[in-house]
């Protein structure tokens, strides 16, 4: 399984709504801009956001002799994507599955998708420490997994959940590549006053507490949310977000 994938990286949080999918898609696009062959697997079965964020909602998947063919964002096939979102008849349809069925789906996504040769496979996860997370860890035993990037916002209510995700990583022996603090401050477009809407500094404090690298901060920048399928490092190269995505990509590709 995943024999032709050189590096596997999980994007985790513990907390919902911190920007895991946004970070996953932008990181995948950043790596693609740097000419790597990238795969992006969305194992959030209840709330799959990747097809929407990459503007691929009208795409479908089909089967070949080697397995399910992922959706490619580009002609050169530099970014391959798989999500349960591609398998739903309507975007309003809920996937109301209990644990065992979710476990089976996660395993299928890992074993039955014909990813081909990839430099990096990024796996976007739902919040929590439950079936999807346990299953992906079990399935990745025997596969070289570089580790996990943890995403948080600065607030304590987020840090509290991400601490549990750190415990999960330590217990399942997955290396933590680092912590990213998202939604770290909003700069008012009118007066340039920076307001820490979701508090400040929690991500770095957690990285110190957990003794893991701090990968950087991403401010609240509605322009990034509006990118939808376009790389921040290409469209907004001077933005603080682009700087952080470049730094994270640098860190990932150097280890």
């Amino acid at each position: 399984m995943l024999e032709n994938v050189k590096h596997v990286i999980l994007v985790l949080s513990g907390k919902g709504g911190v920007g895991k999918s946004t970070v996953s898609t932008q990181l995948a696009l950043t790596l693609k801009e740097k000419n790597f062959k990238v795969g992006l697997l969305d194992i959030d079965l209840c709330g799959p956001s990747i097809p929407y964020l990459l503007q691929l909602e009208d795409k479908g998947v089909h089967q070949s002799d080697e397995g399910w063919v992922p959706v490619y964002t580009d002609q050169e096939q530099k970014l391959a994507v798989m999500s349960i979102g591609f398998l739903l008849n309507s975007r309003n349809d809920a996937v109301v599955w209990r644990g065992p069925k979710k476990t089976a789906m996660v395993k299928q996504f890992l074993t039955d998708v014909s990813w081909g040769e990839l430099d990096y496979l990024l796996i976007d996860t739902p919040p929590g420490t439950s079936d999807e997370h346990i299953s992906v860890m079990e399935s990745l035993k025997g596969v070289k997994c570089d580790g996990a990037i943890l995403v948080t916002t600065p607030q304590q209510v987020s840090i509290e959940d991400v601490r549990k995700e750190v415990t999960f990583c330590k217990r399942t022996k997955i290396p933590i590549l680092g912590i990213v603090e998202n939604m770290s401050g909003f700069v008012c477009p009118s007066c340039t006053e920076c307001t820490n809407i979701f508090s400040k500094g929690g991500g770095e404090a957690l990285a110190n507490l957990a003794e893991v690298p701090f990968l950087g901060v991403l401010p609240i920048d509605p322009r990034v949310g509006a990118l939808l399928g376009k790389a921040c490092v290409k469209e907004l190269p001077e933005s603080p977000s682009a700087k952080t995505f470049n730094e994270i990509a640098e860190k990932i590709t150097c280890t």
Binding site: Y52, R98, V157
Partner: protein, 319 residues
């Protein structure tokens, strides 16, 4: 156009659920690797359903707070609604049940982080925030903030059953149940165990942007599938007012019309919008009651209107 994909191997399409009376016995179970385990369980309807019904007989209104999307403010809104309901009528009793097993936020948000729960002959005693406001959460059962609850679905379901059937709430006017994001075990179990207890309905929380509405539409679909009445939708973090120049900014732009448009399309009530106030985030972290401390905040004022509508909807159903 998506082609029809065959069902995942081994797990049946119409799995009745491991807690179901038909677990292991339904025709759909044939061939499932879990069949033997499920079939060796107790026969007949889950006794937990009756236990929950009896335990919650003295609870007038039982409201699930759902989303589908994470991080929209379910826990914050649950806490705000509960404080508001308790404050507006000191003779009414209100409680919050936190069934987010992996990420329990209520102990922090309600300001009772290091409290402990006690068990007696009449069940678990919830933690009291105020004379007429109590809370129960798995957070109270963890000894350290680093403790992770790394459980698969069936074990989480067992915890939810215990929370619904074994907490000694006493007489309650409102029981608000905070849930994790998604449409999975916790949600299915809550709806199953509450099926005979007379669930009033669900309040759905969202933020204005499409990536959130995408998940929230699925949650509304879930409610329709399991026949939970949608009492209404609250749009949180709708607008940000710069504390310096007062300019309004949309942090989470409503590019597809926000919650109001979604409610019109899906024919569910819209309860109101709450603006994005950094003080709210800070008070949540510190567990403070900003309803009493910041009565002039636009959030508190908007919340008042939402609570009025919610009470009306709940009471109209009682008649």
């Amino acid at each position: 156009m998506a082609s029809t994909v065959e069902n995942p191997t081994n797990i049946p399409e119409h799995c009745p659920g491991t807690d179901s009376a038909n677990a292991g016995k339904a025709s759909a179970c044939a061939g499932c690797p879990n069949q033997q385990i499920c079939a060796s369980g107790p026969a007949g309807p889950d006794p937990g359903i009756q236990l929950v019904k009896e335990r919650l007989e003295q609870v007038r209104n039982k409201v699930l707070v759902l989303s589908g999307k994470g991080g929209v403010g379910k826990s914050t809104v649950t806490a705000m609604l509960s404080r508001s309901l308790a404050a507006r009528d000191k003779d009414s009793n209100v409680a919050v049940l936190d069934i987010d097993i992996c990420g329990p936020s209520q102990p922090r948000v309600m300001g009772v982080l290091n409290e402990q729960v006690h068990q007696s002959g009449s069940g678990w005693s919830p933690v009291y925030v105020d004379d007429n406001l109590s809370v129960m959460s798995i957070g109270f059962l963890l000894s350290s903030p680093d403790d992770a609850v790394i459980w698969r679905g069936p074990k989480k379901n067992g915890m939810i059953r215990q929370f619904l059937s074994e907490v000694d709430w006493g007489n309650l006017d409102y029981l608000l149940m905070d849930t994790p994001p998604g449409t999975s075990d916790e949600h299915l179990s809550a709806s199953t165990y509450l099926s005979q207890a007379g669930l009033t309905g669900a309040v759905i929380v969202t933020t204005p942007q499409e990536v959130a509405l995408l998940d929230v539409r699925k949650e509304i679909d879930f409610c329709k599938k399991v026949k939970i009445r949608v009492l209404g939708v609250v749009e949180n973090m709708s607008i940000f007012v710069c504390p310096c120049c007062k300019r309004l900014s949309e942090i989470f732009p409503a590019t597809t019309g926000g919650a109001k448009k979604m409610c019109e399309e899906l024919n569910v009530p819209f309860l109101g919008s709450l603006p994005l106030d950094p003080t709210v985030a800070r008070y949540c972290d510190e567990g403070k009651d900003f309803i009493s401390e910041l009565p002039n905040s636009p959030v508190v004022q908007a919340l008042g209107e939402i609570v009025k509508k919610l009470v009306m909807v709940c009471e109209s159903r009682e008649e």
